[in-house]
């Protein structure tokens, strides 16, 4: 792949500095922007409702996007793809629809994003489920042996895990985890927000029950997301957001839900976003995961090796950069992470994230104030990585 040509597809890259905040939100190529504007310019109508030709066009485009995304994660049918606003909504949908009862157990790890933590805390308070938090190993990787032990309880109903951590970029051994969980008769929900944009996910091969991911981290429009679910499971779920377009008919006293995915997609949808997301997936397919991962690992390897030369700097997660995908999260004790991030922006327009990255629980447990997180995507270059290292070294000297 020609990186220069790829970068030319992203208008913002021409003049806005170095974007290393891709774990928060990726940039969008012109193709996605065009797809969104095309909707508003050429067929800005409702989908799935009206009978006129513009509506038919919207329905067709959204169906195409759904099919593209289904193929992308290798879902059996496009009906297994539910459009949401983001990963958080997808997880909440499962949490509120799976029919948890008092005493049911949900297992997560100790470094989940708040979107995969708070819903279970709420269910614990409201219904009385039990929430087991599985500690990670010392290098922040998944502790499979311990996982097997906690699964040994017939009350465990769901294992809900971050596929790739937004904290440190570590990816869990999903296939093994799913196999273990299924052997125990437990469903698996994976938070794929940081995984789907960066690695090939085959939901059939992995046998995942539910997979939630966001459009805005994978070149798609913000406010778009997907919940994949095995169709037979989706059929059993009760929708938690209901209303327009979720039912085939209703009387003053009753209603009949449509089949998945419609019954979960209440109200008018973000058609432009859905179509844009479909275009984003096409773009990722065009670039290919091989190139994406190669580029991310190249940058991570270089930056990780350079960061080792900075006195006192601690990288969160495994020291091996290959285990951290496109994320380098670090902190320097007694030096303010926000200050470092602001100074990177001031000195060379380098955009990184600082803080606790919605993983407050992990930071609080470790008594760490926060970290600076540099996260890469395939359009980032080695030259940008070199500038990042150079500026960071200068800042560390000053602070």
């Amino acid at each position: 792949m020609d990186l220069t040509k790829i970068r030319s597809d992203f208008p913002i890259l021409s003049n806005q500095g170095i974007y290393f905040d891709n774990a928060c939100q990726s940039l969008r190529p012109q193709q996605v922007i065009d797809a969104i504007t095309e909707y508003y310019r050429e067929y800005p109508a409702c989908g799935g409702r009206s009978m006129h030709h513009l509506a038919a066009k919207v329905t067709q485009k959204c169906d195409e996007a759904r099919q593209t995304i289904a193929n992308f994660v290798n879902a059996k049918t496009k009906e297994e793809i539910i459009f949401t606003r983001n990963t958080t909504e997808g997880i909440n949908l499962v949490a509120h629809s799976l029919g948890f009862k008092k005493g049911d157990i949900v297992i997560t790890t100790d470094k989940e994003h708040n979107s995969n933590l708070i819903p279970w805390q709420i269910l614990k308070e409201k219904i009385g489920i039990k929430h087991i938090i599985l500690p990670s190993k010392i290098d922040n990787t998944f502790d499979t042996e311990n996982f097997k032990k906690v699964l040994n309880n017939d009350k465990v109903k769901l294992v809900s895990l971050g596929f790739t951590s937004n904290l440190d970029g570590v990816t869990i051994p999903a296939k093994e985890i799913v196999e273990i969980a299924h052997r125990a008769g437990v469903l698996v929900l994976l938070d794929g927000a940081q995984a789907v944009p960066h690695q090939k996910i085959d939901v059939q091969e992995l046998d995942i029950d539910f997979l939630a991911f966001s459009g805005h981290k994978m070149l798609g429009p913000s406010g778009t997301g997907v919940l994949y679910g095995k169709y037979k499971l989706l059929e059993k779920l009760e929708p938690f957001l209901v209303g327009g377009d979720t039912v085939s008919e209703s009387t003053y006293t009753s209603h009949k839900f449509l089949s998945p995915p419609e019954k979960f997609e209440a109200g008018l949808q973000d058609y432009a976003g859905i179509i844009g997301l479909g275009e984003a997936v096409k773009y990722i397919n065009k670039v290919g995961y091989e190139f994406i991962q190669k580029q991310e690992l190249l940058l991570n390897k270089y930056i990780t090796s350079e960061l080792q030369n900075i006195s006192g700097l601690k990288v969160i997660g495994p020291s091996d950069s290959e285990k951290r995908g496109g994320i380098v999260s670090f902190y320097i004790p007694n030096k303010d992470h926000h200050q470092i991030a602001i100074m990177l922006d001031e000195t060379a327009k380098i955009m990184v994230r600082s803080g606790q990255h919605c993983v407050h629980s992990w930071f609080n447990a470790k008594n760490i104030k926060g970290s600076v997180r540099a996260s890469f995507y395939f359009y980032n270059t080695m030259e940008e990585a070199e500038i990042f290292v150079r500026e960071l070294k200068k800042i560390c000297f000053v602070l």
Binding site: D336, Q339, M343, V398
Partner: protein, 307 residues
């Protein structure tokens, strides 16, 4: 300490640029928390410090390191400088209101509110217009016999003395204000002609004789000399006509002008005026306080009326 500085600075900038208002609000929140003995939890100081140090870092690593290390100390320095600046600004505003100059009464240094120093300018006794060279602190009425100068006595406790020159631009600027002052307030008024230019020297004996012959007509003549142009009043024929217009006997005035007695009287008045340490016109005394140059009307009025 930085929050206080930032609050003051950002509040001022925020008046002109909306993008700074949010920062000013953050700074205020920080200040308020400090005042109420709570920790500032917005990270405002750290954020601003990072921005400032980051900007400096683009130019010099060493200076950036110094700034980062001594940020609190520099904040204190800036704070004290701000306090000083506010004090001096306040003092300048006060002086400008009171005396027409930011620097104080008759002080001719730069004043942003009167950048050209118009309120302190005099026509110097040397003959050229501009800021006179002299010591404004020495101007005084002490030992000056004012009884020999034209006077409008109203038996008031307040006395205004105008020492001016008919051909001086700055006296011409002050004259209507003094006229207004004496018409709106019950004050004793004394006028002394102190020519700083040769072309109006000849008006000294004319003025003496005119006042001697008819005090009421003298004030009319005085007004006319200020109302007409400098060029016109430099001509003897023109002034003769003014005398005629006012009702004087021109021949009689002219006879008086050349008399020895008039000559001595003129010299006597000049000697008296020199005692004021005058170095330019206008020089105005209100209740004995000397004002060099044409001040804003409020200054004159306040000195008569008080607060």
């Amino acid at each position: 300490m930085f929050c206080i500085i930032a609050f003051v600075v950002l509040s001022i900038i925020g008046i002109f640029n909306v993008s700074y208002r949010e920062l000013a609000k953050e700074a205020y929140d920080c200040v308020f928390r400090r005042i109420t003995r709570r920790p500032c939890n917005t990270g405002f100081k750290e954020k601003m410090k990072a921005k400032l140090v980051g900007k400096v870092l683009n130019h010099s690593t060493i200076i950036a390191k110094f700034l980062n290390k001594n940020f609190e100390l520099l904040s204190w320095v800036l704070f004290l400088a701000t306090i000083g600046s506010i004090f001096w600004t306040g003092k300048g505003l006060f002086n400008f209101y009171m005396y027409g100059s930011c620097n104080g009464l008759n002080k001719s240094g730069f004043c942003a509110l009167d950048p050209k120093g118009e309120n302190n300018k005099v026509s110097s006794a040397g003959g050229s217009c501009g800021t006179g060279e002299g010591d404004e602190s020495k101007v005084t009425l002490e030992n000056v016999n004012l009884d020999i100068f034209p006077t409008q006595n109203t038996d008031s406790k307040d006395t205004v003395v105008l020492i001016g020159c008919y051909s001086c631009d700055y006296t011409r600027k002050a004259y209507p204000l003094i006229k207004k002052l004496i018409s709106e307030n019950k004050v004793n008024y004394i006028f002394a002609h102190y020519p700083v230019k040769e072309e109006t020297l000849y008006l000294l004996p004319i003025g003496y004789c005119a006042y001697k012959q008819d005090k009421n007509k003298y004030w009319q003549l005085n007004d006319k000399l200020f109302d007409n142009s400098k060029e016109d009043i430099a001509k003897k024929e023109f002034v003769d006509n003014l005398l005629k217009d006012v009702g004087y006997d021109v021949n009689s005035i002219n006879s008086c002008v050349v008399s020895t007695e008039t000559n001595l009287a003129v010299v006597e008045r000049r000697i008296e005026l020199e005692k004021t340490n005058i170095y330019g016109t206008p020089l105005i005394f209100i209740n004995g306080k000397g004002l060099v140059g044409p001040k804003p009307y409020r200054v004159y009025e306040r000195m008569v009326k008080g607060w």
